[in-house]
């Protein structure tokens, strides 16, 4: 198992290290070096990780990553490192390539530290996206511990020279047969779409459905296309002679259906009306307590002739195209029942309430999301004495009386599947 370093700390530290190196490096260049600098340095995505039983802490790993990135940055002819800023490096090579392209790199390198602190083992894997070759794959068995507290004393002589050798700065012609030069690229998308990532300032697609940009080519790019009412699109590609690129855009879904399970797994359904371009939504939900699993009850199943309607006004905090989206909302709850021998009525004990909702949804497959919501609820009770008598002096989770007329359930949780039409 590979465990990543603290992403935020590492990426910030790595960026600082690269920045310092960039300041120092020009002063150290000799004339010969400057001649060499005419060549285009490679850009490599670097992830330093550790195995679970390496004995290294997250802080140790941070020190090692900074040390490695700094050493690589100042090495003659070495590729420019870009620290991988997420928790764990993708396991599939294709995903690693994608991650490298996403940051404009043309190679990636994974350094995994295992063994022990006293006798570390380094495993290096690297791949070249330009030549589409697996350039490095070797293991180094260190016979002495890391001098972790002193980065300057850390030595990477058994790794970095091999990386430099594998990724020499290239003549521009090597990239595509010609020097890097501005090339006109037509981006085709819906009129009004804002394209960013290809030029210093975003450009807007005209009424003819095209936007013209002149990015240097060859080079890797990641463009982002945003248009109100449409899911933002992100496209990574290597620009090398193409004249056009088309962006596929999908309308923001306006209707979603939920299959949801509340608390002790009481089933429910809900329909969401999403507004666009505003990332808000209105959700009408229905949950029945007629069939439920309540594992902490005297019996495994629970059945009450009670149901509740919820109306939720919410807003997504994350963009539509993110695989994980957070949202918050609030709205009223109405409890209704059809008691035995009685007719449809609003519940007497807790007729209505207000729910606050904080949720997160995960894209499983296209059009299907898994979601979890925490929905602390406060219910108004017109009969607080009865409610109090119901629970007596027990400290009964989850409901308790707040003030003289509010029954609070702070632990209400909903889990379900969301079908995006």
């Amino acid at each position: 198992m590979v465990v990543g370093a603290s992403a935020r700390t590492l990426s910030a530290a790595a960026a600082a290290a690269v920045f310092c190196a960039a300041l120092v490096l020009p002063c150290c260049l000799s004339a010969q070096d400057q001649a060499a600098a005419q060549k285009t340095p490679r850009r490599i995505l670097v992830s330093v990780e550790k195995t679970l039983f390496s004995g290294l802490s997250a802080d140790d790993l941070g020190v090692l990553q900074r040390s490695f990135l700094t050493s690589l940055s100042i090495a003659d002819g070495a590729p420019s490192p870009v620290a991988y800023g997420q928790k764990a490096f993708p396991s599939r090579p294709a995903d690693r390539d994608k991650a490298a392209r996403a940051v404009g790199a043309d190679a990636w390198l994974l350094l995994v530290v295992s063994g022990s602190k006293a006798r570390p083992v380094l495993r290096v894997e690297s791949s070249d996206l330009i030549y589409e070759t697996h350039t490095l794959g070797f293991t180094v068995n260190r016979r002495e511990p890391f001098p972790l507290m002193d980065i300057n004393r850390e030595e990477w002589g058994d790794v970095i020279p091999l990386v430099v050798k594998a990724y020499p700065a290239m003549d521009p012609e090597v990239y595509s047969g010609g020097p890097p030069a501005a090339a006109t690229l037509i981006v085709r998308a819906l009129p009004g779409t804002v394209i960013s990532g290809l030029s210093p300032k975003p450009v807007t697609v005209g009424k003819d459905g095209a936007a013209s940009v002149d990015p240097p080519s060859p080079a890797p790019y990641t463009l982002r296309a945003t248009l109100a009412g449409y899911v933002p699109s992100t496209v990574s590609f290597y620009l090398d002679g193409q004249k056009e690129i088309a962006v596929t855009q999908v309308r923001v879904p306006w209707l979603l259906f939920d299959l949801v399970f509340l608390d002790g797994l009481y089933p429910g359904v809900s329909a969401t009306l999403a507004s666009s371009p505003f990332p808000g939504f209105l959700r009408l939900g229905f949950t029945t307590f007629r069939f439920g699993i309540a594992v902490n009850q005297d019996q495994f199943f629970s059945s009450l002739p009670l149901s509740q309607f919820t109306l939720l006004a919410g807003i997504y905090l994350s963009p539509e195209d993110k695989p994980t989206r957070w949202y918050v909302g609030a709205g009223p709850v109405l409890r209704v029942s059809i008691p035995p021998g009685g007719s449809f009525t609003v519940d007497e004990l807790l007729p209505w309430g207000v729910q606050l909702v904080g949720g997160v949804e995960f894209s499983l497959v296209p059009h299907l999301r898994l979601f979890v919501e925490h929905a602390p609820s406060g219910y108004f009770t017109p009969q607080p004495a009865l409610f109090n008598a119901y629970y007596g002096n027990d400290v009964t989770i989850p409901y308790f009386l707040l003030g003289s007329a509010v029954a609070l359930d702070p632990f209400e949780v909903r889990i379900g599947l969301r079908w995006v039409l």
């Binding site: 307590f289 008691p339 007497e348 807790l350 989850p398």
Partner: protein
């Protein structure tokens, strides 16, 4: 994904059935037409775990208006298979319901299922909560008794009056009327502070065979013991020793009802028209005569009202609601109901009231 599974498991563990009383919702359509005047509970009597029925009769209110009325004490009747237990319950200074022991026991042995063996009539409150328990022996009317019990307010206990009646407590009703046996009894509110108890009595020895009649010696006594005019001989089809009896002092209407082979038969007469006539429309057990002159029935869990001629005015399901009594709040008569709910720590009772004049508009 594993985090989600953990969350689901956690939700299932902490999740539980929500607070809900199905019965409360079932009675809601009727309750919404009334004023909820209080709640008593949770009450746990010695026998509440084995109870086959629970009733709550609030202490007669002394409030001048329905808005200022609050229920702070009352009587709980716990019914078991063979016994009824009468308890006085009250809210202590912290608002917690307490049972004031001891409980008073009344047997149900020998009860006729068509009639209440023990009639619990809450009397007007002065400085004590008062209840009169009539035990109407269905086979031997001469053994019927009346017992007055009092509880000092606010917390009881329930005790015999001091000094006790000279003829004992419980007191044989026959002792009160010169050897005449009571076959029916009625509580009737006279005002906010006074009640009438009217009895249908027969002279001893009374008939036991076919053709037994309420004859000329049968007469009705007011609470003061003054004899009301008797009625002509009324031949009954078979032995009847028990009646439900009601007298309206405003109209002088008398009603006597009995059950024969599962059928209720109700007679009505007045001193001015003393020949009893059958009210064919009254086919259910009558539980009270209201000050409005209407007859109230709760037989089978259905609330029915009949006008003074026996025409049914109302029939609505009570869904667990129980009739308590009629009482004056100030100068306005109200009909009181209670609704029992079994809960984890005992029983709770919601108390409702509706102006007598509005009873016929219930639906």
């Amino acid at each position: 994904m594993k985090h989600l599974l953990l969350l689901m498991a956690l939700a299932a563990v902490i999740g539980c059935a929500p607070p809900y009383f199905a019965g409360l919702d079932a009675a809601a359509p009727l309750a919404h037409q009334m004023t909820r005047v209080g709640f008593m509970g949770p009450v746990s009597t010695n026998e509440s775990d084995i109870a086959t029925g629970m009733r709550f009769l609030p202490t007669r209110p002394t409030a001048a208006s329905i808005g200022s009325l609050s229920v702070t004490s009352g009587f709980v009747i716990t019914t078991t298979l063979s016994t009824e237990w009468l308890s006085f319950v009250y809210l202590d200074s912290s608002g917690v319901a307490q049972v004031s022991f001891p409980e008073i026991q009344f047997t149900l042995i020998g009860a006729d299922p068509n009639y209440p063996l023990n009639e619990y009539d809450v009397a007007a409150t002065t400085t004590t909560a008062n209840i009169v328990v009539f035990t109407m022996n269905p086979t031997t009317p001469s053994s019927s008794t009346a017992e007055l019990l009092r509880a000092a307010l606010p917390g009881g206990p329930l005790a015999l009056p001091t000094p006790p009646p000279t003829s004992g407590n419980p007191e044989p009703i026959a002792n009160m009327f010169g050897g005449q046996a009571a076959v029916g009894v009625q509580y009737f509110p006279a005002s906010a502070t006074a009640d009438n108890f009217n009895l249908l009595v027969v002279a001893l020895p009374y008939g036991t065979g076919p053709g037994y009649a309420i004859d000329g010696v049968t007469h009705v006594l007011s609470a003061s013991g003054a004899a009301l005019p008797g009625i002509p001989a009324l031949t009954l089809p078979s032995p009847v020793n028990r009646f439900l009896y009601y007298y309206n002092p405003a109209t002088t209407n008398n009603y006597a009802e009995y059950n024969l082979n599962g059928q209720w038969v109700c007679y009505q007469w007045t001193p001015a028209a003393p020949v009893p006539v059958t009210l064919a429309g009254v086919t259910h057990r009558v539980d009270a005569l209201l000050t409005s002159g209407e007859l109230l029935s709760t037989e089978g869990g259905t609330l029915r009202l009949y006008d003074s001629t026996g025409t049914q005015e109302l029939a609505v399901p009570m869904n667990g609601m129980q009739f308590s009594y009629e009482a004056y709040i100030g100068t306005t008569p109200y009909v009181f109901f209670s609704f029992p709910m079994s809960m984890k720590h005992g029983w709770g009772f919601n108390v409702y009231a509706v102006p007598t004049a509005s009873m016929k508009s219930l639906h």
